[in-house]
Symmetry: C2
Subunit: 129 residues, 2 copies
């Protein structure tokens, strides 16, 4: 059973930005604002191959995701998790379009560069605060 309760799922499905924390090679915490999603069991983060976050996860699968309801910042959650799977190819490309639609209303992600390859981090929640 997922550790994501109904409230957390609602926050993840909402149009809220998340911050994703990973650890740089030199030990500095790396933090990036990101669109966020869930498959009902795991937290989904869509990033591009080669980004700092992606390289950090290749080294250490432990990530922490924090987000809050933009309209009520006291409704918030922090999820410590582990990247248990990475999805690439068409599924990841379609997923960034889906996120684009959720956050911007555009059915095609406008920020894509020709060489960009998307990847979905499937993050299994370990602790939810």
């Amino acid at each position: 059973m997922s550790k994501l309760d109904q409230r957390t799922t609602k926050l993840l499905k909402g149009k809220n930005f998340a911050f994703v924390a990973t650890i740089n090679r030199d030990g500095v915490p790396q933090l990036t604002p990101t669109w966020i999603d869930t498959d009902g069991t795991n937290v989904l983060v869509n990033t591009a191959l080669g980004r700092t976050k992606e390289r950090n996860v290749a080294r250490d699968k432990r990530v922490t995701v924090g987000l809050l309801d933009h309209s009520n910042p006291y409704d918030r959650v922090t999820i410590e998790g582990k990247v248990v799977k990475e999805i690439r190819g068409k599924e990841a490309e379609d997923h960034i379009d889906k996120l684009s639609y959720k956050y911007t209303g555009n059915k095609k992600y406008a920020g894509r560069t020709p060489s960009e390859k998307r990847v979905i981090f499937v993050i299994e929640p370990v602790k939810v605060y």
Copy 2:
């Protein structure tokens, strides 16, 4: 000269929540939502003695702060910094009341417990994204 430009200063002075990332002893990134402030040069985070964040900083002074404008989440900043000073006592207690006023309108911080001792992390920005 501070690395905080006008836009970043405005985000820090605004009624926006920040996420502060530190590193737990076991290497898991620790992330907490927090009220945020600036003295014009440094980022100020007010926490309580004994909290995870505070214990993590005692071990490693490198912290990363991310925040976004709640009304325009594409206006956001990530600040990698170093805790160069910790302020305790009356100044820290007054500062949490000041933050309470900024975020809630209450001149006295309502979340205080009898044994709680506040501390201000003075975070010198190292890199701003």
